[in-house]
Subunit: 227 residues, 2 copies
């Protein structure tokens, strides 16, 4: 049996982490079904049985991959939300930035492998299989609920369905830029760079904030021209 909290001292290599990193890449590149434990072990430079030694089976390995990153994203979001409402009522743009920045930044953190996780979470978010759904419910629904409450507190004219939709739309936009597919660059003939983090955050914040405000108008007045 593996030791839950490995002492991990001395010269021994950290197989746990190596496996998790390799699994993240594999799941992102080939999907859950397409990723093979053998290939993951090879990539992690570890014996194939080690994967089952630390994570009993493929399902739990997948859960562990999601848990690690979502933990980081959620911690950052929670802290930022607390800080935000501690002093005074912020404006919508600031709130949206707090929600999307951790997501986008982790996806752009290529050196720490965040781009692989980005692709993984994007597919999980829209997937219907039990394992992905489970991961979303467990790791992302709680912070979603808190975020939706925050949006409603800021825009009282939004009813709950509109706030839920607004949040989900905003997150879907953030996720779409989280995974850098290169499509923006291709369609803009290189004018658009999806690895410019600040430009990306700024665009997403502007787009999503205006979108959410429009959802309120959509509910009451229906069809309205601003510009």
């Amino acid at each position: 049996m593996p030791q839950a909290q490995a002492v991990q001292q001395g010269r021994q290599k950290d197989s746990r982490k190596a496996i998790l990193d390799a699994a993240e890449r594999a799941f992102a590149d080939f999907g859950f079904g397409g990723a093979s434990i053998r290939a993951i072990a090879r990539d992690a430079d570890v014996n194939q049985a080690m994967v089952h030694y630390y994570y009993q089976n493929k399902d739990q390995l997948f859960s562990a991959v999601v848990a690690r990153r979502s933990g980081e994203i959620n911690t950052r979001r929670e802290r930022a939300l607390d800080r935000l409402f501690a002093s005074e009522v912020p404006d919508l743009e600031t709130l949206i930035e707090v929600l999307v920045r951790p997501t986008i930044e982790i996806g752009h953190d290529t050196e720490r492998g965040g781009d692989a996780y980005a692709r993984l979470v994007v597919s999980s978010n829209n997937s219907a299989d039990a394992l992905s759904q489970q991961a979303i419910i467990e790791h992302y629904d709680p912070i979603a609920r808190r975020s939706i409450d925050a949006i409603m507190r800021l825009l009282p004219e939004l009813d709950k369905p509109a706030a839920v939709r607004g949040y989900l739309f905003a997150i879907s936009v953030a996720l779409s830029v989280m995974a850098k597919t290169g499509r923006a660059a291709r369609l803009s003939e290189g004018l658009c760079d999806d690895s410019d983090t600040e430009e990306t955050v700024s665009s997403v914040v502007a787009f999503a904030s205006a979108g959410i405000r429009a959802l309120a108008d959509n509910k009451t007045g229906r069809k309205r021209v601003i510009g």
Copy 2:
């Protein structure tokens, strides 16, 4: 070798279509790697070798699945775009509706299996594997270019990178509601119904139109409060 244009008359069952339908469901539910040709054949009530008889291998089967639906979506979009610009210059809301409605409606067409395709295309859209990328480039880039041009014609103050971003953001929102994951209902305690097509289209149009307009402001003025 299979006959390209099968005569398909008399009592013989249409195995081609049955295979394609089953493959669409399988790829959507389990991903490319997780879907097995054996299970697809079983689901289609067809001998396993028939899959390779009509579609030579798994890759080509996947391409065929994408090609069928994207053809329908693109035809509808192209026609609507032509009609839209035939008479006079439309407003942004109308243009966005033309772009997202076919996508959303096909995803909501459960009886014809459109919901399965929705899940499939959502994951392909954000996937980095060669096969999915290929499918996107081949089947969705052309109409994307035309749509981006249309947006720029309507909003001359948008530069190309902003228009590209605006289009991609809008599509990502449309795709997120195309696949009905039930998350909206869960987060809103049943108040939000993601299978109400008209309500969904209306929300997406309002959100995305306002978002795109805000991208123009974001470029020039930076941070601006409307409401």
